[in-house]
Amino acid sequence: MTQDLPNERPLIEIRELTKVYGKGDIAVHALRGVDVTAEPGEFVAVMGPSGSGKSTLMNILGCLDRPTSGRYVLDGQDVSKLDKDQLASVRNKKIGFVFQSYNLLPRLTAVKNVMMPMLYNGHSRITDTERRTRAIEILESVGLGERVNHKPNELSGGQQQRVAIARALVNNPAIILADEPTGNLDTRAAQDIMDLLNELHKNGATILMVTHELDIAEHAQRVIYLIDGKVASDRTQASGIAHLHNGNGTQHIAIGVSR
């Protein structure tokens, strides 16, 4: 692995990461020594067939799970040995999750869903009004300023995913982890969400996205391909954003460049 920007500290650095489920004969080796480094501001897609270990990798990157061995340094902090409470704190402050099925709480309005991560960030001195103001700002920035008091069932799939992205952004995370963010959406809504993620990326956000759709992965600068718990390929794509889409007039041809 080369470092593209040697002067800057990598945001994610994992070394010799392994994850084994079970013991002895029935042990499943989900990850067999993975090394990945990601710099701040990168937009990385993780691909691979099912069983390749990409979900396991995302869980560990999201601090939802701990590796069996190896090192994971996130934003300068070694998180591979943290306990449950410390991991919860890291998830709250450093990571914004975007899920395939949005995972909004159906009984809460958009703004309350967005406020939720702020409830767990330990700043109990922040008033409810301040949280609300912040949540509305974020919702406006993702284009849902008119929908803050709608409940999820009053929103389209694309809008729900926008709320979820707003929720992921609300605590200013170091990294956004998106797990099949367009998996439940039609082509148009998917394009919409990818446009939003591209915009966030342009504004400096670091995004790690799991997907099995090639045209979605092509939005990323860099694609890591996992097979059998190991990195099979790790390539940076030309000029970042690549559209293979007829909707907005511009057409870019994605050219993958092997490293």
């Binding site: 939802l64 449950k84 919860a88 999750f97 709480l105 939720m116 991560p117 767990y120 109990s124």
Partner: protein, 407 residues
């Protein structure tokens, strides 16, 4: 995350399933209501006993013949009994007493002019009656010693009897026919009302010797006093009076401590008996309360477990957003506590209302013990904490990855 915020989240969780939340609290409602009704009933019963005792006259001792095997007394088959004359001996020889009286009742028709009252309780007694029973004469006089010595044909009317027979007219000096015997009214009693089972105002009072003479079968040792009431001056003199009575009555009846031929009964022994009845009832209700609180608690635990399963994804999501295990635990624990406290509140209302209904429309006297309300709330909160702990801990221990994938 402050507790208040968690409380808000817990409340949102509960309002999600209002009917279910209500049904879940029913057990706690019943349990708490039972606690309050239970204490109200036993307080009411205690007050009732205290009232009766006060009405009977304080520090009362009853001397009753003991009906032992084979009987006592010379050849009658009946136990030896105190006679009317013995009352004077007690009065003279026992110190620390405020009154001595005996009672022999009969039931007769009472007639004055054209008015006939059927089956009136005729109380044959002595001058000590009013002192022993703390009863007062409104007009005229009560039975005196001379009335009994000569078996005078005089009668004192209870308040209601006087009203019914003579209305607003003065009854004093009027003639009243009791059974077939003509008596002269010498007094009317003041109003006392019903105490226990005794309607003081609906009775008439005559010399006890008159009852012996006119209405008691001569074959049955007719001068025998079935009960003698002695009232002690105060609680302090009770023991001394009891001891003196014991010796004196044994001497009069010529008996030994092995088979004295009589028993001395005090108010205390009556209180003890009633208290033990009340206690039995109270214990029963305490068990009802305890069982329904436990059953209610199990209901809460059950529904919380269902809730944890239903909201597994929510728990996973909250964990992903940074909720620590203890945040999740507190959320579900507070839900259980809020649920049981709402049950407690409804139970307090039901208990207070139920106690009031018992008192107003039921046969039972109740007095709400206000201290039982915080007690009941405490019990409800304890139930919530105890039975909410396991589901809350289970929720807190969920693996976020598994929880997020839960369908």
């Amino acid at each position: 995350m402050t507790t208040f915020q968690t409380l808000k989240i817990a409340w949102e969780g509960l309002t999600l399933n209002k009917v279910r939340s209500f049904l879940t609290t029913l057990g706690v409602i019943i349990g708490v209501a039972a606690v309050i009704v239970m204490l109200a009933i036993s307080a009411g019963a205690e007050a009732e006993v205290a009232d009766q005792i006060n009405a009977l006259g304080a520090n009362l001792i009853m001397i009753m013949p003991a009906f032992g095997r084979g009987g006592f007394g010379p050849g009658t088959g009946m136990p030896a009994s105190l006679q009317y004359d013995d009352l004077a001996k007690i009065e003279e020889n026992v110190t620390g007493i405020s009154g001595v009286s005996a009672q022999q009742d009969t039931t007769q028709d009472v007639k004055a002019g054209n008015t006939t009252l059927t089956d009136i309780s005729v109380v044959g007694t002595t001058s000590g009656f009013i002192a022993v029973h703390e009863y007062a004469v409104a007009e005229g006089r009560f039975i005196n010693g001379e009335d009994n010595d000569r078996a005078n044909k005089v009668i004192i009317l209870g308040y209601d009897v006087a009203q019914e027979l003579f209305g607003d007219q003065s009854a004093i000096g009027q003639a009243v026919k009791v059974g077939s015997t003509k008596l002269t009214v010498v007094g009317v009693m003041s109003q006392k009302g019903v105490v226990g089972n005794t309607d003081y105002d609906g009775r008439v009072y005559v010399p006890i010797t008159l009852v012996f003479k006119r209405w008691t079968n001569a074959r049955f040792n007719r001068d025998a006093l079935r009960v003698v009431y002695v009232s002690a001056e105060s609680k302090k003199t009770m023991d001394s009076v009891m001891a003196q009575l014991n010796d004196l009555v044994m001497q009069i009846l010529d008996t030994t401590p092995d088979s004295p031929g009589f028993t001395l009964t005090t108010q205390d022994s009556i209180i003890d008996m009633r208290t033990s009845t009340t206690e039995t009832f109270r214990n029963l209700l305490a068990w009802v309360a305890a069982i329904s609180l436990v059953v209610g608690g199990i209901g809460i635990m059950n529904i919380m477990l269902v809730s944890v399963t239903e909201r597994t994804r929510e728990i996973g999501l909250r964990q992903a957003m940074g909720a620590r295990p203890r945040d999740v635990q507190l959320q579900f624990l507070l839900e259980a506590i809020v649920l049981s406290l709402i049950g407690g509140l409804a139970g307090v209302l039901a208990g207070v209302g139920g106690s009031w209904l018992f008192n107003e429309f039921g046969s039972m006297r109740t007095e709400i013990v206000w201290a039982s309300i915080p007690l009941a709330f405490g019990a409800a909160a304890a139930v919530g904490i105890f039975f909410g702990y396991y589901p809350a801990t289970k929720a807190a221990q969920l693996d976020p990855i598994v929880a997020l994938r839960h369908e």
